[in-house]
């Protein structure tokens, strides 16, 4: 059921994902098959009510000088839940690989749940790889600051969520960015 994507020599692929609750399972298998191949994946998950998503992303660096930059951000309200699993593999010989994986989850209600497993399998040493995960809720201090300017708590929270997701939305193609903005609209 996964989407198979093969990236060729010196090709730069950009993969945007906007999830607003429809699907329950999404998978991507990305292969950086030839030298110079690069993939940028930007995922935005907006979950409400009892929406559930299992997102699985696999990236394989199979050639030298390949780059992967995968960032997934989720904003979950009500009882929404996301399981984000990513596995980035760098095979022997894929020298000069640059692999980055990040998952950031913002929990907006008491019953929202997040699971993140960003994994790396590195079999080539002449590379750079890293990953990061954060899970948390909007900061009280940020909310206070914005409310002190007259914005209600709800509005401040929505602004914060927009801000959190902004750097993902800004990479989306216009139509998708509009859809995302609409989902988050005040």
């Amino acid at each position: 059921m996964s989407q198979q994507i093969v990236v060729k020599r010196d090709e730069e692929r950009f993969i945007p994902l906007l999830w607003t609750g429809k699907e329950t399972e999404l998978g991507y298998e990305i292969v950086l098959a030839e030298p110079g191949a690069s993939v940028t994946f930007r995922g935005l998950l907006i979950g409400r009510s009892d929406q559930n998503l299992a997102l699985d992303i696999k990236v394989r660096h199979e050639a030298p000088n390949t780059t992967s930059d995968v960032v997934v951000k989720a904003a979950l309200s009500d009882m929404a839940k996301t399981d984000i699993t990513c596995l980035t593999t760098v095979v022997p010989g894929a020298k000069g690989a640059n692999a980055w994986l990040a998952a950031h989850i913002l929990l907006l209600s008491n019953k929202a749940k997040g699971l993140a497993i960003p994994s790396l399998e590195i079999l080539e040493n002449d590379i750079k790889a890293g990953h990061a995960t954060t899970v948390g809720q909007p900061s009280e201090l940020e909310l206070f600051y914005m409310m002190s300017r007259g914005l209600s708590r709800e509005v401040a929270k929505q602004l914060l969520v927009q801000g959190f997701l902004e750097d993902i939305i800004s990479t989306f193609p216009p139509a998708l960015a509009r859809r995302a903005a609409k989902e988050l609209a005040l």
């Binding site: 206070f144 600051y145 409310m147 002190s148 300017r149 914005l151 209600s152 602004l159 959190f164 902004e166």
Partner: protein
């Protein structure tokens, strides 16, 4: 009652109840007056500023805050703002991804009464640019994310710019001068002096230097969670010379 901010016997502790910080602070600020608060670090002056705005980290255990006759002691920050209160933060909070100008425009529009026409983005941009120019700032800040990657001086200027656009009745500025060099300090001071709308000002100072440029009507010293001395501008000079030791 009207046109005044009354602080009545305020006792404040940290929200988790572990530490008592203010032990009965009373103060009245009338619209048009400039009050300066000085005091040693850790004496409670910043806490006072934050509590007036409703900071979630503190609890008022006794006393009250009355703004133009309305008790705001238990009100959330946004309601206080709508009633005309403003807090210039000592450490303006960075909020990633939220555009400065858009944010400020929203706040300005929130202040408008029901049925009143909201400011459009373009109109706002113009107003902002004009105001920035008047204060001697570039409006380049407006294009960036709220306080993100702003230098110390830029953050403080941005707070004043927000103040100028929101036009509060009472403004509390928490150490607008800390972390600034002399030039930036003069900038801020000039900006404050050139604000046109009538306002009550409570200025928490770190260095007394700013008081050379923004002349206060009243000066108070907060030490050990209480006001230990009050007077006119000459109190500032006295403190400058003999320090905080000999006051209560």
């Amino acid at each position: 009652m009207k046109d005044m901010l009354e602080i009545k016997n305020l006792h404040v502790s940290t929200a988790d109840g572990t530490k008592d910080i203010l032990h009965g602070v009373s103060l009245v600020i009338k619209k048009g007056e400039k009050h300066a608060i000085m005091g040693p670090n850790g004496g409670g002056k910043s806490t006072l500023a934050q509590v007036l705005m409703g900071h979630p980290g503190y609890t008022v255990t006794k006393g009250s805050i009355i703004l133009n006759g309305t008790d705001i002691t238990d009100m959330p920050p946004d309601q206080r703002a709508k009633l005309g209160l403003f807090l210039g933060f000592q450490y303006p909070v960075e909020v990633a991804g939220v555009n400065f100008a858009n944010f400020l425009r929203m706040c300005v529009n929130e202040q408008k009464a029901e049925g009143e026409k909201k400011v459009s983005p373009i109109a706002f941009r113009n107003q902002l640019a004009e105001q920035a120019k008047k204060l001697g700032f570039s409006d380049e800040l407006a294009k960036r994310s709220l306080n993100q990657d702003f230098s110390g001086g830029e953050k403080k200027k941005a707070e004043i710019l927000q103040l100028a656009m929101l036009k509060p009745q009472f403004a509390i500025l928490d150490e607008p001068d800390s972390g600034l060099d002399v030039d930036a300090l003069r900038y801020i001071a000039n900006a404050l002096n050139s604000l046109e709308h009538p306002m009550g000002l409570l200025l928490i100072t770190h260095y007394q230097r700013i008081l050379a440029y923004v002349k206060p009507d009243f000066v108070h010293v907060v030490k050990g969670g209480k006001i230990v001395a009050s007077g006119g501008p000459e109190l500032a000079e006295k403190v400058e010379q003999s320090g905080y030791e000999n006051l209560a």
